[in-house]
Symmetry: C2
Subunit: 421 residues, 2 copies
Amino acid sequence: MSFGKIAVDWEERINLDRMRRERVERAKTACKKHGLEAALLLHNDNVRYVGGGDGVHMWHGVSGYRYALFFTEGETVLYEAGMRKNYMERALPWCKVEYAIPIMPYLATSTPEGVYEKQLEKFANQIKASLKEHKLSKEVLGIDTNSPAVINALKKVGIETSLKCSKAMMEARKIKTKDEVECLRMAAGIAEAIFSEFKKVIKPGVTEMQLRAIATYTAYMAGADWASAPDINSGPHTSQGMTIQCSDRAIRPGDLIAAALCNISYNGYKTCYYRTFSCGRPTEAQKDAYKKALDLLYSAINAIKPGATTKDIAEKWPRAQDMGSAKRPNEDAAVLMQWGHGIGLGLYETPVISRIWSLDFPEKLEPGMTIALETLWPTEEKSYEYPYGQAVRIEEMLHVTETGVEILSKWPVDEITVCEI
Amino acid sequence: MSFGKIAVDWEERINLDRMRRERVERAKTACKKHGLEAALLLHNDNVRYVGGGDGVHMWHGVSGYRYALFFTEGETVLYEAGMRKNYMERALPWCKVEYAIPIMPYLATSTPEGVYEKQLEKFANQIKASLKEHKLSKEVLGIDTNSPAVINALKKVGIETSLKCSKAMMEARKIKTKDEVECLRMAAGIAEAIFSEFKKVIKPGVTEMQLRAIATYTAYMAGADWASAPDINSGPHTSQGMTIQCSDRAIRPGDLIAAALCNISYNGYKTCYYRTFSCGRPTEAQKDAYKKALDLLYSAINAIKPGATTKDIAEKWPRAQDMGSAKRPNEDAAVLMQWGHGIGLGLYETPVISRIWSLDFPEKLEPGMTIALETLWPTEEKSYEYPYGQAVRIEEMLHVTETGVEILSKWPVDEITVCEI
């Protein structure tokens, strides 16, 4: 693989039915391991993992429009915003679908005193009734979100909750099934269509925002189900890192352009995939910075093998104080500069790799994990246009295998992508 | 107004300096009213309101990469992710900028036991030191996010917190300054560029996702600083509401297309602006549904005048049980169907209007509020293609004035926008 994206009867592509069944099995095993028979899932990624259906993108994380009760024995109950319920019953025949009680977090601050409390009371009674129906009213209910308001509302109706559920869901999700890995491969392929457009259109006068326009257009035309907002940093906006999301700054000859394609999503699975472009031929200093960032990236990738830990990766990266002119006083102040994270339905899944904690809290790398590793290095070439210099940013998406590593991202990485002027 | 978006010396456009100063004044007044001398702001919208600088879009709400200490007397301290600090010092000269301690919420579940606690401990000590420096170490610290982990970490170092800060910030933000209203006008104008493209390109075979591609492209080219992901529902996806975000469904003759342009952002200010299109000439049933949705929308708008309340609006809307074939068993199950909300830096600000609570908890409408009102009505015309029928969706953005209301949204609303085939 990878084959095409359209459903066809003449070639097995991503087997979505198998993917759904295997995800549910993984979630059941993880909940049982933590002694949970029922789990209240409020986080969109967890709801999608066990139930499917797309969430509401504008509310990442916990929307309060939809939630699910997941049982180690029995069918998942999906609670959906009223407008969506009828449709969801047809769309997701593997769930029981009920009307959600809206408990959107913003109600707590943008409505009068009493509104949020009243909503939570109705919600807690709804959950209580469902647990009773499942003969689980005396069990501890797993919950994946540390919301004091929700937890207290459940407590008031006699439901004891356990936050172990968050960890259980992360544990389930950290190992990807074959089809999940294929979804990530598809997402990476969409990002490559964007890089290919960038190589064509980057030239003096093009703005960062125009590149973002082209990026989201290309992503949706190539089959992304969400393209969020790619970050494009050019010239001084790359000063020792990525400083902004995107702006109307026009690119000039001599600029580096760091293109960060996060959250380009295929069937819910996200990219985190960066490349650096140059407007015109790069200088020796720019090439040197690139070589250093590449060395940091591949020394980390080469450290991945069965039995290795996140510490083995983090040790390949320099101390915050030793990053040339991009140096920082301590590791906290160098967050994201050399960085790694699990990737799947969520942009950040287990393991999250940083010198801030991975040296002291190592985690074992396991076959089936999918990880994105990102590195950065400054150019050291300063001027009036670039008072802090520029920086190079690269990231690869990879799949830990039984014997080592498969790189999911295929855009040429050996040197800066040059956009001739 | 509105004039252009580029900074020019020959015409006063949005006065961003005045906007920033007036926002800070409003926040100071609100904090003082609630007895707060210092406020820890973790929510991106609040940080932007008092400090400026763009947040990290992929983490709505509380990112844990940046936060601010806001003082009723003294300069705001902005804590920024390391990579951004140097740049932010130059970009935001009205703030003192420090390195943030990363306390990203996902650390709680996707890192080993102990990591999140250690990060929060460093963070709490940093905040404590700053309060001491400002001679406020004995005061109650306002906080805008009900995070038990953060609140406990602060408590451990002796800082007592008050969640009144959330309300105070919402109160400050609910009345918009002249320049904020102009930002919303600009955002509405960008959405109109998208509707104009839709009118041209909607025809049989075009997919919802292709419309989304065109929408984000058009928004960024027209000056949006974020275009999230417009929701496009066509044909059966509009069954009695909006059921999905967007898909690869191809549009067919006879379809209604509900285009929901939320979160198209200009200088941080968001749209919530919906229109309905038809692929070919609409049927009488479609026109009837549109007329009903329009009546609901404008009877609500006409109820807005000084002294009116959110109850006066909600009363214009039908009971959940009385919405034709889109009827719902109760008001919770009809959430969003007839709906209103304040709009500004946040998509949902004060007041949030719904029959779920506004009849029992009325709020006074005030000059300077900016509100989006959205209505929905089903067509009642069912078939094999549309087993639940279709639905019409319309939304206007408006500005409450001293005497009544100004409609910020200008795309023709009197009938379905017809896309000839």
